[in-house]
């Protein structure tokens, strides 16, 4: 026999002003199984909770119904109270008579009546509640960081610092990401390599960190605390353990006309290459699309082989195959970063037509001492010094058409001010124009920085959009623009045009999100679990977000988020086990058909099958295939319960009969 206690909250006047709480308590006291029905001013207060606890003990309650605010607010409060009084916390049900009753209705009579019905539904449900025990699942003490840019490096360093093993998976041949390609950083103008490369080395030398460069994550299974990832180490045709990074092979390689990806194709490199001098790991990689030997298809052919001849360490291996590593992880941090968008659709800026129209990232390389021109800013077309440079802001950002991105790429205003300032500093004879929609400089010392560009360095900031960029026969570029403040049309004869190109998440992010069952927004940025309160966690437990994969960010913000993500991951990794949600699906073997419908709709892969022997009614035994739910993996959505035709699959806390009882109580 059930002994149910009903507790109706006044919530001050929040409920009591529109719902006759005494009448509700009285009406519910007559429901079957109800042994006590009380009302109180503030049920969630300590005194209110004590009321519940005392009643549980005094009446030896088997179920508790609290008619109060939304269960999203205080369900946990009352569950804890019940647990402390010795009642299983899952024997508590909440009737939401505030948000879904008193606050939306004005008429006391009808609101009271509705409150009674909601109370009855909760009582009907609690009759069928069963005690549930949260299971525990162990946590693998190792983290996976996907992406080896500054975000991934910082996260890995922090996690390693806390004493946990970390693997960095980087798809390029070196870690470092976009920051390695940047020349100077705003607003301090210190050199990016000077602050990044020590961190890269630190990551390499940290014994807790394993770097898998030239690798990608090919599969992820499992769940929080217990992920299994498959890492594909792409063949680089060089034995990483033998290569010393001496670079003799790159000199020996006869194929020198490979566009240098690290310099964004602004100069060439050899087919066997080390991305840049401070690459980590400093290991050569053969580009099979250009290597004379590998391109041939048959590696046994006696073509070329110059790199192998040059290599004193014997590291070159033309027969190398992709290698797959499987590893267990407790936490995964996504740090896949960003890329500038493709400018193919922006013919008006003549990016594809004129080599002197460059993106801002290309300008970084052009100005970098390790770049194609050794740090001297020269036009890519004729290697002459540009005297007039036009910067175009918001190329592809803040667009309402399908060509670009709707969002602000956030970093462009600041790096353009940086570029303008650096050019004016180094080449005072160069005129610099910046066309902008708005200049956005929130951030510490950011606006001061921008004002220095305008006031101290005399950069011409013009509010207006560039309409058309036309390369002319004399090698200059006609920039047609409007000045919105003086309302006039301008033509500028520029030597170079720099496009502040919008940034977008890396293309690998979308398939990765599917693999990790994490959510993304329409722009393919990862969605955080809560936009304000949980900014570095994804909605999927155990997956954390670091850096620009979550949204456009500058370096300080990226590093801050990277450390935040690391601290969240550490918070998970220090635990030996985690408590699972007990409201999960379970299958009744006697009714299960083994038809696999449930498995097909499970987004978590929580359902597996086993062949089990059953005694049949005619005393024979038969082997039947039945479903098994892994309670640590199941998140309790219930998709399987409807896919199951026999009704073998049911959900704890929201069982078929419980929901049906609520329906009946409401419709009675």
């Amino acid at each position: 026999m059930q002994r149910i206690g009903v507790f109706v909250c006044h919530c001050g006047t929040n409920i009591a002003a529109t719902v006759d709480v005494k009448a509700v308590a009285e009406a519910l006291s007559h429901e079957p199984g109800v042994v006590i029905s009380q009302e109180y001013q503030y049920m969630c207060s300590e005194a209110g909770q004590n009321l519940v606890k005392d009643a549980i003990k005094e009446y030896n309650l088997t179920g508790v119904v609290v008619c109060s605010c939304s269960p999203r607010m205080h369900e946990n409060t009352f569950r804890k109270a019940a647990a402390s009084a010795g009642l299983n916390p899952y024997l508590v049900e909440i009737a939401n008579i505030r948000e879904q009753c008193s606050w939306i209705h004005k008429d006391i009579a009808t609101a009271t009546e509705k409150a009674v019905i909601l109370g009855k539904a909760a009582i009907a449900k609690v009759h069928l509640n069963t005690p549930l025990t949260a299971g525990e699942s162990p946590v693998a003490k190792r983290a996976l960081v996907i992406g080896g840019g500054i975000a991934g490096i910082q996260t890995a360093l922090d996690i390693a610092e806390a004493g946990f093993e970390v693997d960095i998976v980087e798809k390029e041949a070196t870690i470092g990401g976009k920051m390695a390609q940047i020349d100077k950083t705003f607003p301090t103008l210190d050199c990016a390599a000077c602050i990044l490369t020590p961190k890269m080395v630190e990551a390499l030398q940290n014994e807790k960190i394993t770097i898998h460069s030239y690798s990608e994550v090919s599969a992820v299974k499992g769940f929080v605390g217990n992920f299994t990832a498959t890492i594909k180490k792409k063949r680089r045709f060089v034995d990483e353990t033998k290569c010393t990074g001496c670079g003799l092979c790159t000199e020996a390689c006869p194929m020198k006309k490979v566009p240098n990806a690290f310099n964004l194709g602004l100069n060439n490199r050899s087919a066997i290459y080390i991305p840049f001098a401070q690459a980590v790991p400093k290991v050569a990689t053969i580009d099979p699309n250009y290597c004379l030997k590998l391109r041939k298809g048959d590696v046994n052919d006696k073509v070329c082989g110059k790199c192998a001849e040059a290599c004193t360490a014997g590291a070159i291996n033309y027969h190398q195959q992709d290698e797959y590593i499987e590893q267990k992880y407790g936490a995964i941090v996504v740090a896949t970063g960003f890329n500038p968008i493709n400018l193919d659709k922006y013919d008006e800026f003549a990016y594809n037509q004129c080599p002197d129209v460059v993106t801002s990232l290309e300008l970084e390389r052009l100005m970098n001492a390790a770049g194609p021109n050794g740090g001297t800013l020269l036009r890519p077309s004729d290697k002459t010094h540009p005297h007039k440079i036009v910067f175009v802001q918001c190329v592809g950002s803040r667009c309402d058409d399908s060509k670009g991105k709707p969002y602000c790429s956030k970093i462009c205003c600041m790096y353009t001010a940086k570029h303008a300032m650096l050019i004016r500093e180094k080449y005072p004879d160069t005129e610099v124009y910046v066309f902008y929609i708005d200049v956005r400089t929130p951030g510490k010392n950011f606006d001061e920085f921008y004002r220095r560009a305008v006031e101290q360095y005399n950069v011409h900031y013009i509010k207006g959009m560039v309409g058309k960029v036309t390369p002319k026969a004399d090698g200059t570029i006609d920039v047609q623009a409007s000045d919105l403040l003086s309302n006039e049309q301008l033509h500028i004869d520029a030597d170079m045009v720099v496009l502040a190109t919008a940034i977008e998440p890396d293309k690998t992010a979308r398939p990765l999100a599917t693999m990790l069952t994490t959510q993304m927004d329409t722009n393919d940025f990862f969605t955080e679990a809560h936009a304000k309160l949980r900014p570095v966690e994804s909605a999927t437990a155990g997956i954390f977000l670091s850096g620009a994969c979550q949204g456009p960010k500058d370096i300080p913000e990226t590093v801050a988020q990277a450390s935040a993500a690391a601290s969240k991951a550490i918070g998970l990794l220090v635990k030996d086990s985690i408590t699972c949600n007990p409201c999960v699906a379970h299958s009744n073997e006697l009714m299960c058909n083994g038809c696999s419908a449930c498995e097909k709709v499970c987004p978590y892969g929580a359902i597996t099958y086993q062949d089990k022997e059953f005694r049949m009614p005619d005393r024979t035994t038969a082997i039947r295939r039945v479903a098994n739910v892994n309670p640590a993996v199941c998140q309790g959505c219930g998709a399987c319960t409807v896919a199951c035709p026999s009704g073998a699959m049911d959900l704890n806390g929201f069982s078929n009969s419980q929901i049906m009882a609520e329906v009946d109580a409401i419709c009675k």
Binding site: N96, W103, T110, V116, P603, G638
Partner: protein
């Protein structure tokens, strides 16, 4: 207890709301004091995909005049794909009910996010009006359950 003194038909509306979006959206419409009729009674489910067609038929059987199912917007499901399954299931179920001659306006699926308190209230107002126009559910009820 008689619902309304002036005898205007007051439909009974059962609303299934997913815990993560629509139930939170309903809470938000409460927090913002956005009115909708008392006719609407909400049942909380973890995900819209938890709603079995049997629950909907059962509600009609026991005297509901309209059933509405609310979930996260497609693409926003807390469980990534639940509402996509819901969408197919409910499309087919509603089409079948229509095929059997049950009035189409008695059933609805609406996507309401946790931020759409106003949409939740507006949807409930609109849906209640639509069901009110249809009058009591006679085509899919259990006569024994009809209130005297």
């Amino acid at each position: 207890m008689q619902v309304n003194e002036n005898k205007e038909f007051q439909p009974l509306i059962v609303a299934f709301c997913c815990n993560w979006c629509s139930y939170a959206g309903a809470d938000l419409s409460g927090t913002n004091r956005l009115n909708y009729p008392t006719n609407v009674k909400i049942i909380r489910v973890p995900c819209s995909c938890r709603v079995n067609p049997m629950f909907i038929l059962r509600a009609f059987q026991k005297g509901a005049d309209g059933v509405i199912l609310c979930g996260c917007h497609p693409g926003d499901c807390h469980y990534t794909s639940g509402n996509y399954f819901t969408r197919r299931r409910m499309t087919l179920l509603f089409s079948m009910l229509d095929f059997l001659g049950i009035e189409r306006d008695r059933t609805r699926v609406e996507w309401v996010s946790a931020a759409e308190g106003a949409k939740f209230a507006a949807t409930m107002n609109e849906f209640t009006e639509a069901v009110k126009k249809l009058g009591p559910n006679r085509r899919l009820e259990d006569l024994r359950c009809r209130k005297q």
